[in-house]
């Protein structure tokens, strides 16, 4: 069921009142039933996948938990009998056993993701490298599989690390995996953050419900007015790369930034708004990413939950694992302290960004996109001493408004430039299009009808005004004190703003017959 559909709106109109009308103990059951119903719209095959992913992580977590309990019980039982060394040896053996259980759970869990998502990519690469002609299978990619797989695997690792208590009730655990607002495009939540809220009783409160409602409407505004209007122009540029090269690639960079920002943050606003209406606070996934002054900062503000997932479950474990420590030691001995110290970190960073790219999609453009981000981050890191020297020389510059705006625009353009790989989805084409920006910009084409990119004057005006509105609201709406809270606290203002947003989305949104943009970009991941 797509967020931008009448069916979904009807679904919400039924679900929210039912959620508050049933006894509080049954609220989570309503959410679970609603989530399964919601996902069932993706087809029974997709439903089977999510059931398999849920069962896998649930059963392995139970196994891990039971193994840990047995281990602790045995240690407790033998407290008087065993020496310290014996206890330590037992712990090591038990941990290895639990690690093997974890690995098996992860292999099955990630296998469920990899088979539908990466089989065709792998086979086509094998064919390309070896010259073989293995038939490329066409497998169904269940909606949101990357999100719920990461969420459930994160839980499994947390149970292994004994950071999270294992959930014994299958229905309660299933709700954590299938919770419908975040099922298709995240955020990727942690069990300890989300599950207690999903299971807690909630009362309807005007301010919270209105705030959530406003956030949903704002999300729809960003999606169907901003993103999908920008998409019309983006689509025109992408439909004919030979005509729309040079300066138009720069336009693409700007327009796609508007599109993906409106699309992804809009989708997350809808997710978080629905949750807020239900009394559930899901972690923010964005924190004003386009105001970042550096690439590193940008990645702390954009798709936050994915970034922290990779940091916690890939980068850190990889950086401190035993083989890496051995490699670190070896490289320090053989390559010197400076290089030796860097190599393991670089290796972990490259692997993390390679996987981040691969997570976004099974194609080379995403992998190259991930590695280019990695390259920019590593170069920035290497240049850090120079920056520091520079800022020491000009101590007031960092606070200078002009410099800050320069840094912001530089980061925005750099990220936008790399992001165009996502648009063309073809690495050589993207590189050649980048080239045309410099050797054949074609400025003379700027003032022709071609430069309207398929939009009429009114639509450009709408897009421009919408972007200004989004920018202004974003500026005045920090995550810890959002504007909607202030509006929702005043009932009349809340109703007026909600009504205006409804009419704006209804009339100016690019949705319905004649528009094909109802699906969110991140639903595909």
């Amino acid at each position: 069921m797509a967020f931008v559909s009448f069916a979904f709106i009807l679904f919400l109109v039924v679900l929210v009142p039912v959620y508050y009308l049933v006894p509080k103990k049954a609220q989570f059951i309503v959410l679970l039933a609603g989530s399964v119903f919601f996902y069932a719209f993706c087809g029974w095959r997709s439903l089977l996948y999510i059931i398999a992913a849920t069962l896998n992580s649930y059963l392995f977590a139970r196994w891990l938990s039971s193994a840990a309990k047995k281990e602790n019980g045995r240690v407790e039982q033998m407290r008087e009998t065993w020496s310290r060394d014996e206890r330590k040896a037992f712990r090591v053996t038990s941990k290895k056993k639990r690690f093997r259980i974890l690995v098996l759970g992860l292999v099955i869990g990630f296998g469920l993701l990899c088979i539908p998502k990466y089989t065709a990519f792998t086979v086509s690469n094998i064919n390309a490298i070896t010259g073989a002609s293995i038939t490329i299978p066409s497998l169904l990619l269940p909606m949101g599989i990357s999100f719920y797989t990461f969420q459930s695997m994160g839980y499994l690792i947390d149970v292994y690390r004994e950071k999270t208590e294992c959930e014994r009730n299958f229905a309660k655990y299933a709700l954590f995996v299938t919770y419908f607002p975040q099922l298709l495009q995240g955020p990727i939540s942690r069990f300890s953050d989300l599950s207690p809220q999903l299971l807690a009783p909630h009362d309807p409160e005007w301010d919270r419900m209105m705030s959530g409602f406003l956030r949903i409407l704002w999300g729809y505004f960003k999606k169907v007015v901003v993103a999908d209007t920008a998409l019309l122009a983006v689509g025109t540029i992408l439909s004919d790369p030979e005509t729309y090269n040079g300066i138009y690639v720069f336009f693409l960079l700007l327009l796609y930034a508007a599109q993906i920002y409106g699309d992804f943050t809009g989708g997350i606003d809808i997710t978080l708004g629905i949750s807020e209406m239900l009394g559930i606070y899901v972690k923010e996934n964005f924190d004003h990413p386009f105001s970042s002054l550096s690439t590193k900062e940008y990645w702390r503000r954009w798709h936050i939950t994915m970034g922290t997932w990779f940091t916690d479950y890939v980068f850190y474990p990889l950086s401190v694992c035993r083989p890496m420590q051995r490699f670190s030691k070896w490289s320090r001995e053989h390559l010197g302290n400076a290089v030796g110290r860097r190599l393991p970190v670089y290796f972990a960073t490259i692997v993390t960004w390679f996987l981040t790219g691969l997570w976004h999609g099974a194609s080379w453009n995403f992998i190259v996109w991930g590695l280019l981000n990695c390259l920019v981050i590593l170069i920035s890191q290497e240049l850090n001493p120079l920056y520091e020297k520079f800022h020491k020389r000009f101590p007031n510059l960092a606070q200078n408004t002009f410099y800050r705006h320069f840094a912001m625009i530089r980061t925005f353009l750099l990220m936008g430039f790399i992001r165009t790989l996502d648009c063309y989805r073809d690495v050589p084409l993207t590189f050649s299009q980048w080239g045309t920006m410099f050797y054949a910009p074609g400025f003379s084409r700027l003032f022709t009808e071609q430069s309207l990119l398929g939009l009429n004057g009114w639509q450009w005006l709408l897009l421009g005004l919408s972007l200004i509105l989004v920018w202004q609201v974003s500026r005045n709406s920090p995550n810890d004190a959002p504007l909607r809270h202030r509006i929702a606290a005043r009932p009349v203002a809340g109703i007026v703003v909600a009504a205006c947003l409804i009419f704006v989305v209804l009339i100016f949104g690019s949705w319905g017959i004649g528009f094909d943009a109802s699906q969110f970009i991140y639903n595909q991941f």
């Binding site: 709408l462 009504a499 009419f503 209804l506 009339i507 319905g512 017959i513 528009f515």
Partner: protein, 347 residues
């Protein structure tokens, strides 16, 4: 006044204001079909009819561009109305007829058979032009359900703003001029075309893979017959004269319709071979190279077909009745004004 009552009143006022804004925006954004694509305004005009009719025509352009009720009245005293619309599919004709038979009791229903070739929903734009003009009833609901193409939904028929919201950037003076009231575009359902584009091609229609008329269409034809008989009306089938490969009536189709009509004791008039007898001149009486008739062609056809109707079916001569004289007289006058205007423009 208690605080609670104040809140209730404020909420009620807010809801009323919202509904009014919604209604206004909907009225503004839906197409008016007054200056271009007038076919979209035809279906709704039926509800303004001040008189009842002895003959009802239903079907596609083969009725609304071919038969002129004022000619039928002035020459034969036949009161008639043409409830046609562009690419009107047979289930749409059926439900339109069902709705009309709830309102009046005609003696004859004439159905144009060309649309029998379509057995599935065809085109969203044509659907809207036929269905949006219908007043809400069970018939409209069923007509929409039967007609929706992929991607369409019932909600957008209930609230047409959901379909036409994107017209905000195409609004023209027409949308403001006809915001609250519309002018009639038809003459008793007849939509005149005054241009002349002679027939040039002698090509015949393309070969088809399957010449069977769709089962769905034939099932609706059965239903239409049952409906007419239950209301005491006689069903007559008609194929208007056309002469273009683009709009070809195949012999195989003709045979199937003829067989059905014979089996059910229903009159069927295929007027294609009668064009010479009607007096049609394919150099003068068509506005699109023989696909459709223009005003002069429609006048000839109406005059000729009225005589057939009068001879074959027992129909009262209503001439001399004050209300019908007045109504069809004004219709003829409007049509004459149009002809004069057209003549002046040509001169």
């Amino acid at each position: 006044m208690s605080v609670r009552l104040k809140r209730i009143l404020a909420a009620a006022a807010a809801i009323i204001v919202l509904v009014l804004i919604f209604a206004f925006l909907q009225a503004l954004l839906v197409p008016k079909y007054m200056e271009s694509t007038q076919e979209g305004a035809m279906i709704a005009e039926y509800y303004d009819e001040p008189v009842s009719h002895d003959v009802l025509f239903v079907g596609d352009c083969e009725v609304y561009e071919c038969f002129i009720p004022s000619v039928l009245y002035q020459e034969y005293g036949i009161t008639s109305y043409v409830r046609g619309s562009a690419q009107q599919l047979i289930w749409q004709s059926y439900y339109l007829l069902e709705e009309m038979l709830e309102r009046e009791s005609p003696k004859v229903v004439i159905y144009s058979v060309m649309a029998l070739k379509y057995g599935t929903p065809q085109n969203e734009a044509y659907n809207r032009m036929t269905l949006d003009g219908m007043q809400w009833s069970k018939s409209k609901w069923n007509a929409i359900k039967a007609s929706m193409t992929e991607g369409e939904n019932m909600l957008s028929y209930i609230f047409p703003i959901l379909r036409f919201h994107s017209r905000w950037s195409d609004l023209s003076s027409e949308d403001f001029t006809y915001l609250f009231s519309k002018d009639p575009v038809t003459y008793g359902g007849y939509l005149p075309q005054t241009g002349v584009v002679p027939k040039t091609s002698t090509r015949e229609g393309d070969k088809l893979k399957d010449y069977r008329l769709p089962e769905t269409s034939m099932a609706y034809l059965d239903k239409m017959l049952k409906l007419c008989r239950s209301h005491g009306a006689e069903l007559v089938l008609l194929k208007s004269p056309t002469n273009s490969w683009k709009y070809w009536w195949y012999d195989a189709w003709d045979e199937q319709v003829f067989a059905w009509a014979d089996e059910h004791q229903v009159g069927y008039y295929n007027l294609i071979p009668s064009d010479w007898e009607i007096g049609l001149d394919w150099d003068l009486d068509t506005y699109d190279g023989g696909i459709h008739l223009n005003l002069s062609g429609a006048e000839k056809l109406s005059s000729w077909f009225g005589k057939i109707l009068k001879n074959d079916v027992e129909l009262p001569d209503r001439r001399g009745q004050a209300d019908t004289d007045d109504y069809y007289g004004k219709m003829a006058e409007r049509l004459n004004q149009l002809k004069e205007k057209n003549q002046n423009e040509q001169d």
